[in-house]
Amino acid sequence: MKTRIIKTITSLLLVGLVITGCQKGDLLSNPNVASESSTIPASLLLNQLTANFLKEEEPIISNVYKWNQNIVSNYTYYYGSNAYTWTNTTHKYDQIKYCVKMEEQALKAYGNNTNVYHALSKFFRAYSFIWLTNRVGDIPMDEAGNPNILTPKYNTQKEVFKKSLMLLDTANMLMGNLTTAANRNTKVDATGDIFGLTYLQWQKVINTYKLRVLISLSKRADDNADLNIKGQFAAILADATKYPIMTGITDNLVYKFNAAYNQYPPIRVGNTAYNNCANISKTFYSVTADYNDPRVFVLTTPAAAQITAGKTVSDFTAYVGEDNNKSQAAMSGFSTDGKYSNLSFNRYISSAAGANCEPYTVIGYQEMCFNIAEAANRGWITGQSAATWYLRGINASLEVYGITNGKVVTVGNNDGTKTNLGSVTLDVTTFLAHPEVAYKGDNADGLKQILTQKYVAFFLNSGFETFYNWRRTGVPTFAEGGVGVGTPNLKIPTRWKYPQDEITYNAANYKASIDAQYGGVDDQFSKMWLIK
């Protein structure tokens, strides 16, 4: 009897189990993703690196361009504050992680570490480290990007630059070895590289970027012989075969927006209707409109009140900039009084893909020309004319905006309701002849002109480069001292604080580094080695 009962119950249970069943196989691993040990095409990692090359804050018309004193927000809700209330910096160590992974996967796939992914990885590493050291000073480099070292030691800023320059040299060498007559015009990876550059173009980007890094070290060029800053700069210009550099704006590293996935930023964030919340900075007009610069007509709109008062769109005085020093409360929200100029609606706001505006330059030929001009002006290089490169830089910038002498353009209003307020015949000749524009020679005035024109060419592009150049040289004069600057002392900061999690979770190394660099105080106004 008992056994029958047990049989009965067992059979009932079995019925239950048959309905549901035991689940076999690997239940631990997430079935929706690939595990760490999987083989992943390196191309997918290159896509991750290139698609996220720009930090969130960097694209066109973002916050950066308020701090670069290109534009001024008059309404917080849509365009944020103009205040330089920088706190803890963001970072680009995620890119280091992806470099590690890309190298790992490329080694798996190709069995060597001399392939194109390794070459590009060196560039991305250098770019990421320099990106961060520019913002804070010393940073972890040698021990960074390793999940087994949770408290990486800091390298000095000098070491970071030295090692990054070496990485760039290696990247150039690897790319040089990989570039052949047959593939020089072939894209390195059609789906992985969102910039769509060829082998030769990538090599050019690497060297052009290296020129930017070297010139950014101008304050330390004389007292750090071991860095050989001038020598490295000269070496690049001396050997175009070994160190190809950009030869025109078609070589630029540009981020292209597209309507379906990566919309032009003002459109993406729904700010098409709020173009009137962003005014043009007075700082910008003081070196453009004041110098009869034709870029004014193409990039910006005249102040509505000036047109109402009878001025024509071709009158430079109809273009009025807002002062970055002013508090937002003192500005006219939505610029309803029409006193100030805005970005050209036709150019910047009218297309979701940014079809009517210049592509967003990350590293460009126009900047390179000014960097070479600066090196020549400073006497770092011989056989190169600062005047020539200065003019090349201006012309390249004009070319980016499609400006040619005598071209007729129409000027619209700031909200797109009137696309044609009148037309202007662009006069490049008069502009180039303007006493403040015509090169004054290889002296301090000439240098100031080079830096000023570089600032103009950086309008709404190249991220924080405008700020870094201003920080290094003080050119052009930025508005500061007013409430609008927003810092306690109303001065523009010179750096960011370290990332909060770096402060908290790498405390000992952080503390040692802050003590060594800034006497123990991590604040926004200290001067790092680079600009001392």
Binding site: V15, G16, N30, L44, Q48, Y75, K97, Q328, A329
Partner: protein, 1093 residues
């Protein structure tokens, strides 16, 4: 085998000499006692009394006595002679508390022997003044259980028990997966709330936060052997309980300027309500006469024609619920069948919700030893359209109360395709084409459907070896299938919330499918024996839990053909996401209670789980619980006014890991971004009940596409820890139960303390590692609190007035006990918490003040401290100081009246609708008081819109004249080095009320979190038996008039705080500071009819 079974199951009852006795068991006051057990001895033949106390029993000629036992009464023996009927009165057992409650695994136990806190609610208490959601009805009834009733249709209440969310639901002894909507209240006998780990430890990690154990009704006890019950309730909603007030003095626009463009569709304006004042002046508006040849609009008077837009748009809501149940019992079997239907008509036009449920359960005693039970519950929820609520053009509250101008009349928009702006099926007729949508167009065309089928059921066999030993085997399933769709119609305005939106688009279609299946199979051996003075009750068992989940989310990227809602009908390639999981848990568990005479009851439970979600080596763990109770009054002489005194204490230790209570859409599971912030930029992310793996401790590559649709991968940001251990929670509880004045007053006091941790925590790491966090076993928080339940029969009279009161009170605090290793600060929710700090402390942006506490201004707007985490200031604790419920029940003869107040007192909450309404210029406060005066002055300064306005609002405080402030913790530390003067710099009201001014200062929007609600009122009349006496057909009839959510008291009544039950939540370490938009909460009135046949 089948034949064998059949032979085995058929058993015979041998007939002997017997006769039948009838009778009645009653109280000393003559009321019938239902459910008393009447047993003939020595034959042990037994029966139970019916609802009126009547019984009928067949006794053997050998039987000498009748023993009658009933819970709450002293047992009594009646010596038989030759009578055929007798009446017996039982003495109330005033000394013992012999209530029987349902505990874990559906085991019924005497309340006096339980060593942990538990509270039971009868199902019948919740079926009258009902809520569309059955669980909402538990609000205010249980000390320590907070029910955050949700104001949204199909919104899930936030249940918080002693500060923890994610409670386990157990129906008839088996865990079920529930959204709280798939429970039919009419089928429920009782709800038992197991408060915390101690009571629910036997359920393992799923019982971590406590459990709600539901016992469903079974076969009838009626003497006829059958019973039919009908319950019907109808409720109406047409009065707002908590709603933001709006100004109707100014219309849309900005800086006092507005004009509709000279075109058919003005889609470039996304304007707030900071436009011109309504003075009848001529302004071009959406319904201005439009001349298609000249392309010009004619200006028309600017008036507040839409002052009552919200009221004019919303309708009376109706909730109608009907249930019929039939139950029958024979000596061998019992069966109950029930069918329920709930229909809700929402207050927003064209919204409705239906639920339909069917329950069948039955048991059959094959013989005295073998009993088989089966139960099957089917529940269906269906709606063609429910509203969505969040900050965006998809929600009514946004349309009416954030950007709600009075410059249009909503009734004019009811003809949704009215010309010339409207084009049938393509372009709606709207008040604007920039920011908002026409409410009527949304109601009729922007549809969100929901369809869910739930099935849970089990088959169980119990075999009694002896009276003391039985074995049961059970296999249970809980499964559901859900489809949600959303149709965004052609021409609907989405601003630029989604990248593929363009003005004049043809709309979008989304589909969210989820499917969960879970099986629990267990075998339990039960032992129950009284050996002399020891009473041993024990069980041991093993179970297997098998779990699978699959989900799909798809969306078009703009429709190609308008009004065809299919994923294939996509302009750009549609997007689809799938996510699934599987899990297996093997468990073994035991429980035993030993009662030592009248002195002590010791209970001990233990459980071992093996989880497939944890790596080998750390995937098996044991959790014990032990409890002790003693009824002092049973063996110590206590003062006579104390009729009962019990002490109890318990301890439990529970572990678990890498599972999560809820699951979001496949889109979010894959991308990590919610629907609102990620893909379409609108729509609230839906979290479903889940209890499955979260895969949070694995390094992996996942698919992502960041640029132009090209494929890419993400690698984990959290460093997996191969040696991770399960999390741990220990809990200690001490309590005392006292009864006074012959049990008329009861006091139940519980103190508890739990150590929650070390948890499995993603501890941040230095970003220079390339990662953002590493999984560690870290963070322990300590929860400490107490609960009081007080019950009293204030008045008690058979024929006169009865008054019963039940009061409950609960409070707790949660503090940080330990972080990890040598860490001294925990960076969480905008603050670096130190050990010992309350984890519900909210830190945010605050005003900067001078030595006299004046607000400091700079350039006309409040000065701001630097925005890093260290400068956030303490703005209050978000958990309430205490929660309470106050129930009153009066009855005179057949009339009963009851009402309940409950609420939560203390704490702060961020008033999001206030903030948004001020930014939008709609909130009443933007046009009254100092703001109102300045706003009027600014408007007047425009000289009827001929010049730009002059700023008029001067914030009260001081302005910084000189010096450079230094900050620590958001406070200026060098005030002595600074000079101030009274603020005299004017700002514009619009700018000041918005992000440039107070908009970005959280302190300004904090309000008291306290509220009290008159939750329910119930006036009932039961037809006297006399009236029904003639018709044997109806056995009972009760009619009630009911009300829910009748009054609401709070500092600010522009939103209903009730919904925000959770403050700090230790499961996901989030801090609920409130702030989201919600639908206006409603008062509800109705009636209920309950009939028994």
């Amino acid at each position: 085998m089948g034949l064998m079974l059949l032979t085995f199951f058929i058993s015979n009852v041998y007939a002997q000499d017997s006769r039948t006795i009838t009778g009645k068991i009653q109280t000393t006051t003559g009321l019938g006692i239902a459910g008393a057990v009447v047993r003939a001895l020595p034959s042990k033949t037994a029966t139970q009394t019916d609802n009126e106390g009547n019984f009928k029993i067949t006794i053997q000629s050998t039987d000498k006595t009748i023993e009658v036992t009933s819970v709450g009464f002293l047992s009594q023996t009646y010596t038989l002679s030759n009578e055929s009927s007798f009446v017996l009165s039982l003495q109330e057992d005033t000394k013992a508390l012999t209530d029987v409650v349902v505990t874990a695994y559906g085991i019924k136990r005497e309340a006096k022997k339980i060593g942990y806190s538990i509270q039971e609610i009868k199902g019948s208490d919740l079926t009258k003044a009902r809520d569309a959601n059955p669980i909402n009805s538990l609000a205010g009834k249980v000390a320590g259980l907070t029910v955050g009733t949700n104001t949204e249709m199909l919104g899930r209440p936030e249940l918080v028990l002693r500060g923890s969310k994610d409670l386990l639901f157990v129906i008839d002894g088996v865990p079920v997966n529930t959204d709280t909507w798939n429970i039919s209240p009419d089928d429920i006998e009782s709800y038992t709330v197991l408060k915390g780990t101690n009571a629910s430890a036997i359920y393992g990690f799923r019982g971590l936060n406590g459990a709600i154990v539901i016992t469903t009704k079974r076969g009838s006890k009626d003497k006829r052997g059958w019973q039919v019950d009908v319950n019907s309730s109808t409720m109406f909603e047409d009065k707002f309980l908590a709603i933001p007030e709006s100004q109707y003095e100014y219309g849309r626009g900005t800086n006092y300027i507005y004009s509709y463009g000279d075109r058919l569709y003005d889609n470039a304006q996304r304007l707030p309500e900071w436009g011109p004042r309504f003075e009848g002046q001529l302004i071009k508006q959406y319904n201005s006469p439009y001349d298609p040849t000249t392309g010009l609009r004619t200006a028309i008077p600017w008036t507040a024609r839409g002052r009552y837009n919200f009221e004019n748009f919303m309708q009376t809501g109706i909730i109608n619920t009907n249930n019929i149940s039939m139950s029958a019992t024979t000596d061998k079997s019992d069966i109950r069948m029930s069918i329920s239907n709930m229909n809700q008509k929402g207050v927003a036009p064209n919204t409705k919700l239906g639920t339909y449920s069917m329950a069948v359960n039955g048991g059959y005693n094959f013989n005295k030893k073998l009993r088989v039970e089966a139960s099957l519950n089917f529940n269906k929820q269906y709606t063609p359209n429910i509203p969505d609520v969040n900050y965006g053009p998809n929600s009514y509250i946004y349309t009416f109360k954030v950007y709600g101008p009075a410059d249009y009349d909503v009734r004019d928009l009811e003809d949704i395709y009215k010309g010339p702006m409207g084009v049938k099926d393509l372009v709606p007729y709207m008040q604007e084409y920039g920011r908002e949508n026409s409410p009527w167009f949304m109601a009729k065309k922007w549809l969100r459907s929901h369809d869910k089928s739930d099935i849970n059921g089990y088959l169980k066999a119990t075999y009694k070896f002896t009276d003391a030993l039985s074995l049961s085997a059970r296999s249970q399933i809980t499964t559901w299938n859900q489809l949600r769709t959303e149709q965004a119609p052609s021409g609907i305005n989405l601003n630029a919330y989604t990248p593929w939106y363009y003005f004049g688009w043809y709309g979008d279609y989304r589909e969210d499918r989820r499917n969960l299946f879970e099986n629990n199979t267990d075998v339990i051996l039960n032992f129950d024996k009284k050996v002399k003075d020891f009473n041993i009750s024990a069980f041991a068992g093993a179970s297997q839990r098998s779990f699978t989940y699959n989900s799909f989310f798809g969306t078009t990227k703009a429709l190609a053909i308008p009004n065809v809602y299919a994923l294939s009908n996509s302009k750009d390639p549609s997007l689809s996401y799938t996510w699934g999981s599987r899990m297996q848990v093997y468990s073994a568990f035991y429980s035993f209670d030993i009662s030592m005479s009248k002195y002590l009851t010791l209970s001990h439970t233990g459980r071992v789980d093996q989880l497939s979600t944890l790596p080998e080596g750390s995937n098996k763990f044991y959790y014990p619980s032990v409890s002790l109770s003693t009824v002092l009054s049973d063996y110590i002489k206590v003062p006579s006014f104390i009729s009962f005194a019990k002490l109890r204490t318990s301890y439990a230790d529970v572990k678990g890991g890498l599972t999560q209570a809820t699951v979001p859409s496949a889109f979010m599971a894959i991308t990590g971004k919610d629907l609102n912030g990620g893909l379409l930029g609108y729509g609230a992310e839906l979290y479903s009940s889940y209890d499955g793996p979260n895969y949070a401790n694995q390094n992996n590559y996942s698919f992502v596409s960041t640029y132009n649709g090209l494929p890419s991968v993400n690698f984990s940001n959290t460093i997996a820890n191969p040696t991770i251990k399960p999390f741990n929670r220990t809990s200690l509880e001490v309590g005392i139960d006292l009864k006074f004045a012959k049990n008329r007053i009861g006091l139940d006091f519980t103190y508890f303390q739990s150590m929650n941790g070390p948890q499995i925590y993603a501890l941040p790491v230095a970003p220079s590692t390339g990662y953002s966090s590493q999984n560690v076993n870290g963070i322990t928080s300590k929860k400490e609190g107490f609960e009081i339940a007080l019950t009293g029969a204030v008045l008690k009279s058979v024929k006169g007035l009865n008054w019963d009161v039940a009061i409950n009170y609960a409070t707790y605090k949660e503090t940080l006990e330990e972080i990890y290793g040598t860490e001294t600060e925990l960076s969480l929710n905008g603050h670096n918490y130190k050990v010992g700090e309350r984890l519900d402390a909210f830190y945010g942006t605050a005003f900067v003040r001078d030595a006299s506490n004046n607000v400091i201004f700079s350039g006309g707007t409040p000065l701001r401290a630097p925005t890093d985490i260290t400068n956030n200031k303490f703005l209050g604790n978000v958990n309430p100081d205490f929660t309470f419920g106050f129930n009153n029940k009066f009855s005179v003869k057949n009339i009963s009246f009851s009402f309940q107040f409950d609420g939560r007192i203390g704490g702060v909450i961020y008033d999001g609708i206030y903030h948004d309404g001020m930014n939008g210029g709609t909130a009443i406060e933007s046009a009254t008081g100092a703001f109102g005066a300045a706003r009027l002055a600014e408007w007047q300064s425009t000289n009827n819109n001929t010049v730009a306005f002059t700023k008029k609002f001067i914030g009260q405080g001081v302005k910084l004249v000189s010096g450079v402030p230094k900050y620590v913790g958001g406070v200026i530390t060098n005030l002595s080095e600074l000079t101030f003067a009274p603020n005299d710099v004017a700002a514009g009201v619009q700018s000041y009320a918005g992000a440039s001014g107070v908009g970005s200062i959280s302190e300004y929007w904090m309000t008291d979190r306290s509220f009290v609600k008159l939750r329910e009122v119930n006036l009932g009349y039961t037809l006297p038996a006399k009236l029904l006496g003639k018709s044997k057909f109806i056995k009972g009839a009760t009619f009630s008039i009911v009300g829910r959510n009748l009054f609401y008291w709070a500092e600010r009544k522009d939103f209903d705080i009730d919904q925000y039950a959770a403050g700090y939540n230790d499961s996901d370490r989030s801090l609920n500071t409130g702030g989201a938009l919600q639908s206006a909460s409603m008062r509800r009135f109705g009636f209920n009819i309950n009939l028994n046949f």
